[in-house]
Amino acid sequence: MAGQRDASRREVLAGGGGLAAALAIGPARAEAEQTLAAIRAFTGEAEVRRGRVKLDIPVLVESGNSVPVSVSVDSPMTAADHVKRIALFTEKNPLPDVARFHLGPRAGRAVVATRVRLADSQTVTAIAELSDGSFWSHTTDVIITLPACAEG
C-alpha cells in the first residue's frame, strides 16, 4: 500500500507540475503533493482547466465541523454534453478526498451540495468531469477559526 502510494506520488511529482500551476496550489508541500495525487487518481492523465465550475463555500467559517459546500457546473446537461462526475478535494485535511458525485443528463442541472469538515484553513478544489472527457476546476481559500476535531 505504501509503495503504491509512493509510486503515484512520484508520477505526480514528475508530471504534475503543470497541474499544480493550473490549480494554483502554490509551492510544493507534503499536503499539496497528497492532494495532487488524489486529483490525479480522479482525472488520470487528462489536463484540468480552470472555469465552468463554480465552488460555493464560505470564505470565513467559525467551525470546520460542518461547512456548507455547493458546486455548480456550466453545462446544458443533455445526452451529448453533460457532467459525469464532480469531486471535492482539500489541501490540508488528513485525507485529501472529500466526496464524489456521479450524475448524468437526467439531473437536468449540474448542481450538488453537501456539508464538509475542514481540519484547517486551506484551499478546497472542485473538479468536474464532462461527457467529452474534459476536466474543469475551481479552487477557493477558506479560513477556519475553529478547525474540525479540535475539541477531540
Binding site: 465541523n65 460542518s66 461547512v67 455547493s70 482539500t90 485535511n93 488528513p94 485525507l95 478526498d97 472529500v98 466526496a99 464524489r100 458525485f101 456521479h102 450524475l103 448524468g104 437526467r106 439531473a107 437536468g108 442541472r109 448542481v111 450538488v112 451540495a113 453537501t114 456539508r115 464538509v116 469538515r117 475542514l118 481540519a119 476535531c149 477531540g152
Partner: protein, 106 residues
C-alpha cells in the same frame, strides 16, 4: 434504523427540474478523532448514497471521512414520470438503509 430526512416535491410538471435533499443521522466517525483516553475512535462512515427513479439510478455520491456528521446531499433530477424515488445509504461495514418517496408527475 437511522433517522433519514428526505425532501422531494410531491408533485411536479413533466420535464421540470426538481431539487432533492437527503440527510441521514450518522456520526461519520472519521477515524482521526481521539476519545477521552487519547485513543483514536475507529472509522465508521456512510460510504455511498444513491437515488433511483423508478428503478433507474439517477444520482450517486461517494463519501469520505471529510463529509460532516449526519451526511447531507442535495441534487436535481428531471421529473419524467409518476412513480417512486428510492434512496439508499451504505455504510463502510456494509449496512444499508433504503427509504422511498412517491412522486406524481403531470
Amino acid at each position: 434504523m437511522a433517522r433519514a430526512l428526505i425532501n422531494v416535491p410531491k408533485a411536479a410538471k413533466r420535464g421540470e427540474v426538481i431539487e432533492i435533499r437527503a440527510l441521514i443521522s450518522h456520526p461519520m466517525e472519521s477515524g482521526f478523532r481521539p476519545d477521552e483516553s487519547g485513543k483514536l475512535v475507529p472509522r465508521s462512515i456512510i460510504k455511498t448514497f444513491s437515488c433511483a427513479y423508478n428503478g433507474e439510478e439517477i444520482f450517486r455520491a461517494d463519501f469520505f471521512p471529510a463529509v460532516a456528521a449526519n451526511p447531507f446531499v442535495s441534487f436535481t433530477t428531471l421529473a419524467s414520470a409518476s412513480g417512486t424515488l428510492s434512496f439508499t445509504w451504505v455504510s463502510d461495514t456494509g449496512e444499508t438503509q433504503t427509504e422511498t418517496r412517491p412522486i406524481t408527475v403531470e
